[in-house]
Amino acid sequence: MSQIQNSNTADTVPMEDDTMAVSVRELTRNFGKFTAVDRVSFSVQKGEIFGFLGANGAGKTTTIRMLCGLLLPTSGQASIAGFNVYTEAEQIKMHIGYMSQRFSLYEDLTVRENIQFYGGVYGLSRKQIKEKTRELLDYLNLWDQANKLTADLPLGWKQRMALSTTLLHDPQIIFLDEPTSGVDPVSRRNFWLLIYKLAARGKTVFVTTHYMDEAEYCNRLSIMRFGKIVEIGPPGELKAKYHARTMQDVFMNIEHREER
């Protein structure tokens, strides 16, 4: 966990280090005159659960979309699973899973059909899709719901379902953008146990959340504010630094700082 980077030490980010799942240097994205992501630098180790925090509009989703090869950066560098976001977006998509903020499922398909559909998207063969469907329904405990219309599922199930479609092609790195928003306390906890299971299998998990108790479940956190990363480190270190008992206190403390 010593690879903590911030913009001051950006020059030393090891871009080709193969213990890194994500390496980002001076990454920037403008929309017209507005800078949504402002020269952020950090890296995420393989197998890490990396929490990406920040107030609404801080730039989390914009960063994730760049890392997933869905949005071109204005400047800076990023390599994901060793691939370059400018030139190797297609390879990136095959090596990562992305669950977007308002996850997209086809509501008029059943759970099973959704998995099959996304299997097709990722170019799996019929046989692979069949095997994967069985494996995922097991893993996510979704058998009872397999033939129900997605629209009729409670949110907690939809969210599991969305996760399962992002895991279809067995990606190494998984980006989860607010996977638990609006989800009840029990389902939230179950979802986090799934995240731990993924990490235990060596997957890298990059996750955003507005639940500060979930922030404490991460190995390392970054906090974004107005497009910049203002803090990065393990939850314990951040709490110590701010003399705070909880991450909620750390977050409130940072957000109430006056300067921009």
Partner: protein, 304 residues
């Protein structure tokens, strides 16, 4: 008179019962929160109250009048925020606010003042001129909330208003709700997945499988949790959790941010707990007796 009275509400979708006989009153000036797992029936209740859904049985009275007799009346009198509220994506932040202000016939002067109050909570002031389509997820949600709060009806009905909203804005949003209920006597019915928000309500209804299991002040609900509760502070809470949650005949464990919460059945002593943890060779930095929160109450109820 209580602004809303719900009597023995029942609703099924096909053969699946969603709400199985629910009764409660929303009192004048109170904030009443409904919490419960996904699919417990919260949204069905809300949609029935605003007469978007026709209940199978039971009655809903708004100001003493049955809403069945005049379904559009209630919709014109209350502020309702559905789970997924749509803004006009091509209008700017400010144009959206103005649009809804005019729609709800709020006088221009009042609109202006209200907009400032709402910008203070939403932090959207600097982005007035941005198209709604270009906002972040949480900013959209805050704009939607602001559009609904621009008028100040006597009754507000909010289905998961803080979906995706950050902790600072959630806090400020709840201040607005509280001010409105205290100063103007607005009655507010709200659903939420955040237990800290539920704790700020005057009364909370805990829903499960189509029924309200308990409806009371948050402090009273917390008192229903009578077994001793401890937090195990530890460097790797989820590892400790995974080691002990199988033994829920002995202890009930739940994962929290600060550590693992563990409930001792009355007949067990703290010493037995310490021995048990030692046997398991778990690294625990501190064991502390704590007061149960609403989240503990919720989890206990869900575990049956």
């Amino acid at each position: 008179m209580d602004p809303l009275e719900i009597r023995n509400l029942k609703k099924s979708y096909g053969s699946v019962p969603a709400v199985k006989g629910v009764s409660f009153n929303l009192r004048k000036g109170e904030i009443l929160g409904l919490i419960g797992p996904d699919g417990a029936g919260k949204t069905t209740i809300i949609r029935s109250v605003v007469s978007l859904l026709l209940a199978d049985e039971g009655e809903i009275l708004y100001m003493g009048k049955n809403i069945r007799d005049n379904p559009t009346y209630i919709r014109s009198r209350i502020g309702y925020m559905p789970q997924r509220f749509s803004l006009y994506p091509d209008l700017t932040v400010e144009e959206n606010l103005d649009f809804f202000g005019d729609l709800f016939q709020v006088p221009k002067q009042k609109q202006k003042q209200r907009k400032e109050e709402l910008y203070a909570f939403s932090h959207l002031g600097p982005f007035k001129k941005r198209r709604a389509a270009d906002l972040s997820g949480g900013m959209k949600q805050k704009l939607a909330l602001s559009c609904m709060l621009i008028h100040q009806p006597d009754v507000l009905i909010l289905d998961e208003p803080t979906f995706g909203v950050d902790p600072v804005s959630r806090h400020e949003f709840w201040e607005i709700l509280k001010t409105q209920s205290r100063r103007q006597g607005t009655s507010i019915l709200v659903t939420t997945a955040y237990m800290d928000e539920a704790g700020q309500c005057d009364r909370v209804g805990l829903m499960f499988a189509g029924r309200i299991l308990a409806l009371d002040q948050p402090q009273e609900l917390e008192k229903q949790f009578t077994d001793p509760l401890y937090v195990l502070h530890c460097p790797q809470p989820h590892e400790v959790f995974e080691q002990i949650y199988h033994d829920d005949s002995l202890y009930v464990a739940n994962l929290f941010g600060e550590g693992v919460h563990i409930t001792l059945p009355r007949e067990r002593t703290e010493e037995q707990l310490r021995n048990y943890l030692q046997e398991k060779r778990l690294t625990i930095t501190k064991i502390e007796r704590i007061k149960p929160s609403l989240e503990d109450v919720f989890l206990k109820l869900m575990h049956g």
